[in-house]
């Protein structure tokens, strides 16, 4: 498709325009990634506190007694503080890390360059998208500082617990309202972003960049935007209804006749299941918003380091689209035991199982790509391989949970926690790590340290398996989730395993310091990066590192090849750039 894109904006002038209220998609992408970095540090510290308490339930956390004199008198975490930590951890991680980094962060930085555009279609919306998300984050974090503390109803905020208000428990007053406002704002931010991604992909592709020549990473961000557009436009009204129930006395999610804290609640006629349906209609697609960019990143990066074309790129694309479509038909698998009509459990179970078909195919195609390759084991390559491994592990536990007859045992146990941390926590994080190590040279013009990267990878891989595999064993033994302690008779036997997980989690957390060090040190002192350090083909590698403000220095690249030209005889090696005018020579 030919574009007649004129310059959207001149080079920015002044500090504010350049670095703060920037319209440049590259700056906005980095801002999103920095936000995710701050969020992931907070989220991780919260998880350490939770894990510490689960492993050592009577030991005081050093210093915590001073920080939270009431919620953790003497430094030992109380049940309500535990739930507050859990709620904030889940919310921060799912929304402000796993949505912002792989989708909004990398998508913003890379997508326009990969399609050969100068910027996003709507740079002003793009800037708004980030700043609204930023405000959403501040609103959420503010919940730490209100008198009764953060909400305790989990990242799923099930009504009526989340809807009734103060009476339902600590943190369910102001804290919960802040939660709902934050998530509503977040939805607005992501809707603006998704619209932008869609318009940019459809309208701003450079000459020769046909849809079939788009790298799979861009395809994945595009598909993710379409999912996001639908998902967030359902969660947004759901949050507004929740806010209305909380502050305006409506009863969307609250039935009549409830007695909470000895008070008959002044509500009637609402349905708690309505919240669950709205939430999971968003929630299941949301998990794919977190993981599909990872699928794209792996499909894009793996061939670069395998030095051979991806196996079946069209099949991968069809599978991504199939997954996106199916992701809207399965939300009820979170509600098998929720009291909805048990017949619908079967109806939701079948598409859930069917979704494992495209997922399995993609995984097999990745593994098939490694066959006969000349793998270069750089850090980003290793994270791609790790991604495949952990995604297999998490996908397989999904196979259990997708069956109502087994979910009736495993729902509400650590098996589910193990499942979603593998697929969403770890796999999506590995996708992010792969992306950081891969695109860092393009973003900052410097290389990251590969030795430290490999150390980070190896220790993290071992760590996450030690943390999340045992959770499946706990779940099988019937150990329930969202409990702050397992010390008295119930589940006492699981304490040693919990302690093992805690130690592994603290170890894995410490290992991330290697990554932070590498990140900061490389930004300041890393070796200068060439334009195309990985000998990759896509357009971001045919411009300078970092790219000029308009991406290609005033000219528009002309695309003549697909992104998958590896293992061929090219002018400069075994690959042909997308914007190269040479014809491929098959060897």
């Amino acid at each position: 498709m030919e574009t007649t894109a004129t310059s959207h904006h001149a080079p920015p002038q002044g500090f504010l325009r350049k670095y703060v209220f920037s319209l440049d998609h590259k700056v906005i992408g980095k801002q999103y990634l920095d936000l995710a970095l701050v969020a992931v540090v907070i989220g991780m510290v919260l998880s350490w506190l939770m894990r510490f308490h689960l492993g050592f339930p009577t030991t005081a956390v050093p210093g915590l007694g001073k920080l939270a004199p009431t919620a953790a008198a003497g430094g030992v975490i109380t049940p309500e503080l535990y739930l507050a930590l859990m709620t904030m951890h889940g919310t921060i991680m799912v929304f402000f890390v796993l949505t912002t980094a792989p989708f909004a962060g990398f998508g913003n930085f890379v997508l326009p360059i990969q399609v050969g555009a100068e910027d996003m279609a709507f740079p002003r919306f793009n800037m708004m998208s980030f700043w609204v998300t930023f405000v959403a984050f501040l609103v959420l974090v503010a919940a730490f500082f209100v008198p009764e503390g953060p909400p305790i109803s989990g990242w799923t905020a099930y009504a009526p617990l989340s809807a009734i208000g103060k009476d339902a428990g600590p943190g369910l007053g102001t804290g919960q309202t802040l939660w709902a406002v934050s998530i509503a704002l977040f939805c607005v931010g992501q809707l603006l972003g998704a619209l932008n991604f869609i318009a940019t992909t459809l309208d701003l592709r450079t000459k020769g960049m046909t849809l079939m020549r788009m790298p799979l990473s861009t395809w994945a961000w595009f598909i993710t935007s379409v999912i996001g557009l639908i998902a967030f436009s359902v969660l947004l009204p759901a949050c507004i209804l929740l806010i209305l129930d909380r502050v305006a006395g409506t009863s969307f999610f609250i039935p009549g006749g409830l007695v909470v804290s000895d008070r008959l609640q002044p509500h009637s006629g609402g349905s708690p299941l309505l919240w669950q349906h709205l939430f999971w209609f968003f929630g299941h697609p949301e998990v794919y918003i977190a993981i599909l960019p990872g699928f794209g990143i792996v499909s894009h990066i793996l061939p670069v380091f395998a030095r051979k074309p991806l196996l079946g790129p069209k099949v991968v694309l069809i599978c991504l689209i199939a997954i996106a479509f199916l992701s809207y038909t399965v939300w009820g698998h979170h509600m098998f035991l929720s009291g909805m009509n048990p017949l619908s459990a079967t109806l939701f179970s079948v598409p859930t199982l069917v979704i494992t078909i495209p997922a399995t195919i993609v995984v097999l195609l990745w593994i098939g790509t490694v066959y006969g390759a000349r793998m270069r084991f750089t850090t980003p390559a290793l994270f791609c391989l790790g991604f495949i491994s952990v995604f297999v592990s998490g996908g397989i536990s999904g196979f259990f949970l997708a069956q109502p007859s087994i979910d009736t045992y495993l729902h509400g146990t650590y098996f589910v926690v193990g499942h979603f941390h593998f697929v969403m926590g770890v796999a999506a994080m590995f996708g992010i790590f792969a992306g950081v190590y891969f695109w860092f040279p393009k973003m900052y013009g410097r290389m990251m340290n590969d030795k430290l990267g490999k150390l980070h990878f190896t220790l993290t891989l071992i760590g996450v398996y030690c943390v999340f595999m045992p959770m499946h064993y706990l779940g099988l033994a019937g150990n329930v989730r969202r409990y702050s302690t397992f010390t008295d008779d119930y589940m006492k036997g699981s304490l040693p395993l919990h302690r093992f997980i805690t130690i592994a989690a603290l170890f894995t957390g410490a290992v991330q310091l290697i990554f932070f060090y590498n990140l900061i040190h490389s930004r300041l002192r890393g070796a200068k990066a060439p334009d195309n350090p990985w000998q990759a083909t896509s357009l971001e590698w045919s411009t300078s590192s970092p790219p000029p403000f308009d991406n290609f220095g005033g000219h528009h690249p002309v695309v003549t090849h697909g992104p998958n030209e590896y293992g061929v005889k090219g002018p400069t090696g075994d690959y042909i750039m997308q914007a190269s005018s040479d014809q491929p020579v098959t060897s």
Binding site: P79, D262, L264, L311, G312, V315, G372, A373, R374
Partner: protein, 265 residues
């Protein structure tokens, strides 16, 4: 580095699988009629997906071990047959597995949640609240008294909001904090909540069901062994969630009848 990864991955895979196979952590013994089917389904799934898990991880490790770039001029190879045969075989295998599991699984699920309770089932009414369960037996008249939310008063022990002064059916209702049932007798529970969402989970019975405020949800099962197990709440219900538990006591019919007599109001 590739080889290190391959070894680490193989070790992780084998250790993880071995722990599953050795059943070091496993389901507690089943004490219910329908649990047999669930355990069977679980084992089937474990075998099918266990094979997939081990094969995927080990093949990945093998390829990584084998196909590192040694700097020689070894040409790249495409996967034998390309993508198509692999895709077709995967689709057929996974579809067949899904079909079998769904057919068998639906029967098991249906046995618990879609079939009507036995007509002779003992009906027990259950109310969940922050952070306790109360179980109500209808008493000699076989009828439950009506619930009046405005009369609920935990301080006075009127957990269900009964009105014995005006409601004859309520006068002989027996309310207990433990679920005491006779062995081998079909039980029908009706679950409702006083305040927020809760859940009923007894791992040994293999069943779990949410309490949803505003709904009355039936649940039936039959316990096959004398036992004392814990009922736990698995739906986050507030600060005391971790402490929301009760006992399930499965007794002989004689013991149960004696228990009813002892607890008559």
């Amino acid at each position: 580095m590739g080889r290190l990864f391959a070894v680490v991955l193989a070790v992780i895979t084998i250790v993880s699988a071995a722990i599953f196979i050795a059943r070091i952590w496993w389901l507690p013994p089943d004490i219910s009629v329908l649990g047999v089917g669930i355990d069977h389904q679980m084992t089937e799934t474990m075998i099918a997906s266990g094979v997939l898990f081990v094969v995927c991880q080990l093949v990945l490790a093998m390829f990584v071990w084998q196909y590192g770039d040694a700097g020689d001029a070894r040409p790249i190879k495409t996967f034998p047959g390309g993508a198509t045969p692999m895709v077709v075989i995967a689709t057929i295998l996974v579809s067949a597995e899904i079909l079998v599991l769904t057919l068998v699984g639906t029967k098991v699920w249906g046995g618990i949640f879609l079939s009507p309770p036995d007509p002779s089932a003992l009906h027990i009414d259950v109310q969940a609240e922050q952070f306790a369960y109360y179980f109500r037996y209808p008493g000699p008249d076989g009828k439950f008294g009506a619930i009046h939310p405005e009369l609920i008063d935990d301080g006075n022990g009127n957990f269900f909001g009964l009105d014995p002064a005006n409601d004859t059916a309520a006068r002989d209702d027996i309310v207990s904090a433990s679920l005491v049932i006779p062995v081998n007798k079909p039980i029908l529970l009706t679950l409702h909540s006083k305040d927020v969402g809760h859940a009923f989970y007894v791992p040994e019975l293999r069943i779990q069901q949410d309490f949803v405020p505003g709904l009355v949800i039936p649940l039936h099962f039959t316990a096959t062994r004398l036992a004392k197990e814990e009922i736990v709440c698995t739906q986050l219900c507030g600060l005391g969630h971790y402490n929301m538990r009760a006992y399930l006591e499965v007794e002989s019919l004689g013991q149960f009848q004696q228990w009813l007599k002892d607890h008559a109001p």
